[in-house]
Every structure is written in structure tokens, then in C-alpha cells.
């Protein structure tokens, strides 16, 4: 038996190879480099790799190829998603690198294994130990996301899903303060996450059993060429999309979202909220548009139900929240619903508007969490809304930046959120789902209420004794925050260049 090795286009894969190599070097640095220079080396590796990867993605702009034995596809939408993920990761990593906000160090536990409240932990903190294990984990998570949006078969998509998830479970549990909350969030995220992955995998087995192939184009072919459609493949498809829907945080797979938002270190939330959403929508789009594009009418109702449930539940429950991180968690659920409205259109416009939405959402989210990490009182971050009363009078600049992001998420004109909401709703109307758009508009109104409520609390409430203060950050957080402000404004006022880029990116390669 002859074995022909698959042809691999190394240049097309170079953005991922760089990240992977850097992640491995980063693990070695963690093992062998002396403690004093470890942080410096890690930052060098992480930012170097992410920037190199971003440049390679730009150089690959015209690449449209299927490589690695058909397992990886580099096409227009994939490149857009990869670029977005890498840029957002740079901003998210900058939040994690921040160490001048917290007086005792960065936002991660000095050693994740030390018991909360123990003598051990106190001594490590006193000696100023900083943990650098977060950096290799970040790089592996980024690698997983890049693979997730380019995977062209069920196996690679599963492996990528796990490469994203496993580091994120750990990063969730590493907060320096409120460690019990952080560890609890980590446990819940882990148990629910692996449960969802198991559903994905069994669904993949059923789809494979029906179509005889794990490759998306061949699955699509078998759906159109086989004489009778089998119930097995639809059960399989339903279980399959649970994997990405869980990562998106859509109802009914949303329970982990508020817990993780509240418990995880704020910098990590900023990183994962922005990037994972891009990656998960990339994967969901590819599954539904490429593998199951031919049976659109069979999965559309499913997405409608999930979208409506997410929009309504996320918006209404967010009204009742008093913790700003938890509130944003519920707002993520509502936003997932809005994006699914665009995705359900199953058209080129649906693809473009979904991509535009996740880009706009990602930058606004990174900026939001940059601000949240800066608002502090004696016990660390002040996440209770009562502590935010009158912040706008004490620090008008930072409060205005946060207001811009929140109005952006609410979809007020002249921000990126308005253009993105408009785009997904137009795509849905063109596809004939006007009723879905009406529900979407009502949910946006409810959502606007709680976003605006935070703005009102910041600017129109009198400062009290509880009011937290805004800490001046180092260049890292400032850069993330400024980038968030710039992109939110630019996408709101001149969205055309980005819209043109998205329509030039074209469709998925089949």
C-alpha cells in the first residue's frame, strides 16, 4: 500500500504555525528561564508572535486554498476572522499584561495552586511573585481559535474546540482577588463545556455515519445526492451545533456565561469575550453554510428559536443585575441572539453582516473590560453598580469612553453597534424573516434600557462614599482602550471601507 503524504501549503498556514511555535517556546521559557526575566521573555514572545501572525495574515490576503489533505481551508471569510481574532488577541493580551492597576502586581494569582487565604498565598504575594503561566495558555487558545475558523472537517473542528476551551477553563480560575468566585466559575465552565463538547462529538459521529465522510464539502454533497434524507443526520446536525452554540453562549446553552463573566479575571474576560465569539461564529457559519447549506430550511427554524430565546432572555434578565460584569454577561447572551438573526438569513448578506457584527462587538467589548479593570476600591475591582454612581463626574474621560462602548453595544447611531445591528436586520428582512426582526428591535429597545441605565448612573447620580475611583493604567490598558474607542467610532461613522473589505472577502470556499 502506497502512502502519499498530503500537500501542505506552508505559507497559507504560516499564521497558525507562528502561534503554535511561539506557544511551545513559551512553555519552554516557563520551564527553564529564571524567574526574573520570565515575564519580559513571555511578553516578547506573545506580542512578537501575535504581530507576526497578523502580518502573515495580511500577506495572505489573496489566498483561497484548501490544504492539509482537505482539513484546513483558507478563504476570504476565514482570513477576515483570523485577522480579527489576532488583532483582538493583541488588545486582550495587553489587558492581561497590565500590572500598574493593582498595587500588588497583575490580575492573576501569584500561584494558582496556593490555597485562597493561606499563609502560602500571603507570602507569595508579599514577595511579589508574578505568575507567567497565563501566557502559553493564551497562545494555545489563540491557536485553537485560528484553527476553529479554518477547520474544514469535523475532526479538526473538534480538536480546535478543545484547544480553545482547555486553556480558557484554566485562565478563568486564576484571578488574584476573589479567588473562590474565580475557581467556582472555572469548575462550572469546565463541567458544562466538556458536556457540550461530548454532544458535539456524538453529533459528529452521527453525521459521519450518514454521509460517510467527515469533510464538510462531502457532507454537503451526500445531503443532496442521497435519495432519502434520514432523521439520523438531522439529530446529528442538532447535536453538532451545540458545540459552537455553547461557546457563543446562546440560550439554552448560556448558563455558564454570567458566572464566568463575574468570576474570571477581568482581563481574561475581555480577551475571551471578544475573541471566542468571533471564532465560534466563524465555525458555526462554516458548519451551517458549507456542510448544511443545502438543507437550509431544516436548520433555520432551530436558529430562529435559539435567536429569539437568547435576545429575550438576555435582555430581560440583564435588567435585574446589580453587578456590572454579570450584567455584561447577560448582555453577551442578548448580543448572541442579534448575531444569530443575521446568521439565520443564510445568504451572502447574512455572512457579511454577521462578520461585521462580531468585529464591532469584539472591539467594543475589549474596551468595556479595559474600563472595568480600572474602576477600583480598596478590595480590588468595584463591580457593584452602586460603586459606579457619579464616576462620570470624577473621571469624565474614562466614563465617556465606557459610555461610547455601551451605546455602541446598544446600537445607537454613529457607533459601530448601529451599523452592525442595521446590517443583520436588513439581511434577515431580505431573507424573509421580518417577524424575527420585529422581535429583534423590541429586544434591542429593552437592551438599550440597561445600557443607558449604566450611563445614567455614571453621569447623573451623585457620588457617594461608596463610589470607586478610577486608577491610572500603564500604556498596555491605554492602548487597548484607545483602540476600542477608535474602532467603535470609525465603524460607526465610516463603515464603508470595512463593508467593502467584507464583500471582497467573498464566500466560503466549498
Amino acid at each position: 500500500m502506497n502512502f502519499t503524504p498530503p500537500a501542505i501549503d506552508y505559507f497559507a498556514l504560516s499564521p497558525m504555525i507562528v502561534i503554535f511555535a511561539a506557544a511551545i517556546v513559551s512553555v519552554l521559557v516557563e520551564a527553564f528561564a529564571p524567574r526574573t526575566i520570565r515575564r519580559f521573555l513571555q511578553l516578547l514572545i506573545v506580542f512578537g508572535a501575535l504581530l507576526t501572525s497578523a502580518v502573515l495574515i495580511v500577506l495572505n490576503a489573496g489566498t483561497r486554498t484548501v490544504t492539509g489533505g482537505g482539513a484546513v481551508v483558507i478563504d476570504g471569510p476565514a482570513l477576515v476572522m483570523m485577522g480579527t481574532i489576532v488583532v483582538l488577541s493583541i488588545l486582550g493580551a495587553a489587558l492581561m499584561a497590565e500590572r500598574s492597576i493593582d498595587p500588588v502586581g497583575d490580575s492573576f494569582a501569584a500561584r494558582a495552586s496556593s490555597l485562597p487565604g493561606s499563609e502560602d498565598e500571603r507570602q507569595l504575594t508579599q514577595r511579589g511573585y508574578l505568575q507567567t503561566e497565563i501566557w502559553p495558555l493564551t497562545l494555545f487558545a489563540v491557536l485553537g481559535m485560528l484553527l476553529f475558523v479554518t477547520a474544514n472537517n469535523l475532526l479538526l473542528m473538534f480538536v480546535a474546540l478543545e484547544i480553545i476551551s482547555l486553556p480558557l477553563y484554566l485562565m478563568t480560575g486564576m484571578a488574584r482577588r476573589r479567588r473562590l468566585l474565580s475557581q467556582e466559575a472555572s469548575l462550572k465552565y469546565f463541567l458544562l463545556g466538556v458536556f457540550a463538547s461530548a454532544f458535539y462529538l456524538y453529533g459528529a459521529a452521527l453525521v459521519y455515519g450518514y454521509s460517510g465522510s467527515i469533510f464538510f464539502p462531502e457532507i454537503a454533497q451526500s445531503l443532496t445526492s442521497k435519495p432519502s434524507e434520514s432523521i439520523v443526520v438531522f439529530i446529528g446536525m442538532g447535536m453538532l451545533i451545540i458545540g459552537p452554540l455553547f461557546k457563543i453562549g446562546a440560550v439554552p446553552f448560556h448558563q455558564w456565561v454570567p458566572d464566568v463573566y463575574q468570576g474570571a479575571p477581568t482581563a481574561v474576560v475581555g480577551f475571551m469575550a471578544a475573541t471566542v465569539k468571533v471564532a465560534a461564529f466563524g465555525a458555526l457559519l462554516r458548519i451551517l453554510y458549507v456542510a448544511f447549506g443545502g438543507v437550509r430550511w431544516d436548520w433555520d427554524p432551530l436558529i430562529w428559536i435559539v435567536a429569539v430565546a437568547s435576545m429575550i432572555l438576555g435582555s430581560i434578565v440583564a435588567l435585574l443585575q446589580t453587578d456590572i460584569k454579570r450584567l455584561l454577561g447577560y448582555s453577551w447572551i442578548a448580543q448572541a441572539g442579534f448575531i444569530l438573526v443575521g446568521l439565520a438569513a443564510a445568504s451572502p448578506a447574512g455572512l457579511e453582516s454577521t462578520m461585521f457584527y462580531v468585529i464591532a462587538y469584539g472591539f467594543a467589548t475589549v474596551g468595556t473590560f479595559a474600563v472595568i479593570s480600572m474602576v477600583r476600591d480598596a478590595n480590588g475591582e468595584a463591580t457593584n453598580l452602586a460603586a459606579w454612581a457619579g464616576i462620570g463626574r470624577k473621571s469624565p474621560l474614562v466614563a465617556s469612553a465606557l459610555s461610547l462602548f455601551l451605546l455602541g453595544l446598544a446600537g445607537i447611531p454613529l457607533t459601530s453597534g448601529f451599523v452592525s445591528k442595521f446590517a443583520v436586520f436588513v439581511a434577515a428582512i431580505e431573507a424573509g424573516a421580518t417577524w424575527l426582526v420585529i422581535i429583534g428591535v423590541i429586544a434591542s429597545l429593552i437592551a438599550a434600557f440597561f445600557y443607558v441605565r449604566i450611563v445614567v448612573i455614571m453621569f447623573f447620580a451623585e457620588p457617594t462614599e461608596q463610589t470607586a475611583s478610577v486608577v491610572v493604567p500603564s500604556a498596555f490598558t491605554t492602548i487597548s482602550l484607545s483602540a476600542g474607542v477608535a474602532v467603535t467610532l470609525i465603524l460607526g461613522i465610516f463603515p464603508q471601507p470595512v463593508l467593502d473589505m467584507l464583500s471582497n472577502a467573498g464566500l466560503f470556499l466549498r
Partner: protein, 99 residues
């Protein structure tokens, strides 16, 4: 033997695993139930590979085993950390995050 029986067996194992996740309260048992679900998917993949007459399913099974091993490492690390903090592996006890 008819390979379809293996599919039925795998569906049965998957259901047992899913019910285990939903009703058991010890984090270790919940975790074992998830592993059972992953392995039932493996069984389905291998049986389907036999029925379809190609090797893709068997390749998937190998990768899933590796991923499951990595998952055990991460999962046990998290569960042990929680256990050391709270002296209990019950998933009902960590309840600071709610509503």
C-alpha cells in the same frame, strides 16, 4: 455481527453518561460520565467506519482519545483545586455565583 448493534450500544452508553452528568453530585463522577459520553462517541465512530468502509472514523477515535486525556489533566487540576479549597468535591456546594 451486525455493526448496527454497536451503534445502539453507543447510544445507550451516551444516554447513561448524559444522565450521569445531570443527576450525580460529585464532580469526579460527573466528569467520569462525560468521559463515558466521549467514549460512546468513539464507539459510534468506529462502528460507522466499519459500515461506511473507510478509515476516517477510526482516525477520529484516536484523536478523541488524545483530547480526552488532555481534558482529564485540566479537569482534575480544576477539581482538585476546588477540593483543596472547600474540602468537598460536591458540585452543589460552590454556589457563590448565582442569579
Amino acid at each position: 455481527m451486525n455493526p448496527a448493534n454497536y451503534i445502539l450500544l453507543s447510544a445507550l452508553l451516551f444516554s447513561i453518561g448524559a444522565i450521569g452528568v445531570l443527576v450525580r453530585r460529585n464532580a469526579i463522577i460527573v466528569f467520569m460520565s462525560v468521559e463515558l459520553m466521549l467514549n460512546s462517541a468513539n464507539l459510534a465512530f468506529v462502528a460507522f467506519a466499519r459500515m461506511n468502509g473507510n478509515l476516517d472514523g477510526q482516525v477520529v477515535a484516536f484523536f478523541v482519545m488524545v483530547v480526552a486525556a488532555a481534558e482529564v489533566v485540566v479537569g482534575l487540576a480544576i477539581i482538585v483545586t476546588i477540593f483543596r479549597t472547600r474540602r468537598s468535591a460536591s458540585i452543589d456546594e460552590p454556589n457563590l455565583l448565582k442569579y
